[in-house]
């Protein structure tokens, strides 16, 4: 199966972000993590490209998921 590109936009204080990343790690999903509190370019990308103003924002290929929802992630990632 072709690996999906997974990008996770997070902030350091956000507990849901931690939980989302742990979920991905526990399920062996590789992802890129962008700290949008520090990384202005990533913040801009999240706001404009993903059209999101909340973290965590998780992009799986072209699909955007805002917030951590285990069931939705499982479905989108085919877990």
């Amino acid at each position: 199966m072709g690996a999906k590109e997974v990008k996770v936009y997070t902030t350091p204080g956000c507990p849901w972000c931690k939980r989302a990343k742990k979920f991905l790690e526990d399920n062996g999903v590789e992802y890129q993590d962008f700290n949008v509190a520090e990384d202005k370019a990533a913040r801009e990308e999240m706001i404009t490209k993903c059209d999101s103003l909340a973290v965590p924002t998780i992009c799986i290929d072209s699909e955007v998921i805002v917030g951590f929802n285990e069931a939705v992630l499982k479905e989108k990632l085919g877990l």
Partner: protein
């Protein structure tokens, strides 16, 4: 049919689940998620056994401990209805399933209160946020409003004055937070404070642009240009299920006695959803344990 259904996924529910499973009560745990309110708590320094632990890590440990014991759980679907049957209860979930049991423990906790003003729901996640610590950094360099007058609102102000261009604090009442927090926060050069003002509307097409507020004394309205609205106006109990069955107090909390009993035989409640004073993880966990043990006594008497 299980003997006991526990509704909830926070400290009270998971502790009740461990106690019930260890007593070999045939138990079903129903919750939209596992972890509850501590998931949005960063540092915990008053849960005994840990000098410091972060909320999500503590709840991970609760979950791991619960998984040591045989217990049926359905995580995801939301419980939407609870009704009494002859000799028990029926619980319905939003995926169309229903479950019956002889006893039920409601441990559904609390959720952030919303303002209930036009624009709030539509612009949620589009500048309206209920987690300042999560989304605050997204509004660096912008003008924002923090709504509320308690410690959570003041902490959000404290974080935001450091990174936002300007912060408006809007509170329905005089500030109710601890004086030590008020002293630390009030007085920042980029902070305006609007006490005894209410939020009338949140405006914006695809994201928050303006909030309209009204002075409660004079009735005068003004509009503030902001990119973000942080709503920190406290919590409300997830007690809708119990409405019409058990007694709720004026805050909407389920009234229980010191044995977690609601007054309806077989129906118990535990943790932040109840009128037990002090909403603390350690208190909720203790109440969950008590509810499970009391439910067992009830089941044995049947």
């Amino acid at each position: 049919m299980p003997e006991l259904i526990i509704i909830g996924g926070g400290p009270a529910a998971l502790t009740a689940a461990v106690y019930a499973a260890r007593k070999r009560i045939d138990t079903l745990l129903l919750s939209t998620e596992l972890g509850g309110q501590p998931l949005t708590t960063l540092g915990i320094e008053n849960y005994m056994g840990y000098q410091y632990i972060e909320g999500p890590e503590l709840m991970q440990k609760f979950e791991e401990q619960m998984k040591q014991f045989p217990l049926e759980q359905k995580i995801g679907p939301a419980v939407i209805a609870l009704s009494r049957l002859d000799g028990g209860f029926e619980v319905k979930t939003d995926n169309g399933e229903s479950y019956q049991a002889k006893a039920v423990i409601i441990a559904t906790g609390k959720r952030p209160r919303s303002l209930n003003v036009p624009g709030e729901e539509r612009l949620r996640g589009r500048g309206v946020t209920y987690c300042a610590i999560c989304d605050g950094p997204l509004f660096a360099g912008e003008k924002v409003a923090v709504i509320g007058g308690g410690n959570s609102a003041l902490e959000a102000v404290d974080d935001m004055v450091k990174i936002a261009e300007h912060v408006h604090l809007v509170s329905l009442t005089p500030l109710t937070g601890d004086q030590i927090v008020i002293d630390r926060v009030i007085g920042a050069a980029n902070l305006s404070v609007f006490l005894e003002h209410e939020v009338v509307e949140i405006e914006g097409s695809s994201r928050v642009e303006v909030i309209a507020i009204r002075d409660l004394k004079t009735g005068e309205q003004k509009k503030l240009k902001v990119g973000g609205v942080f709503i920190e106006i406290g919590l409300i109990p997830n007690s809708e299920l119990a409405k019409g069955i058990a007694k709720l107090n004026k805050l909407g909390e389920i009234e229980v006695n010191c044995a977690c009993a609601t007054g309806i035989p077989g129906l118990y409640a535990a943790g932040d959803v109840t009128d037990v004073p002090e909403k603390q993880i350690v208190v909720a966990a203790g109440e969950g344990a008590k509810a499970a043990l009391q439910a067992r006594r009830y089941l044995q008497r049947l």
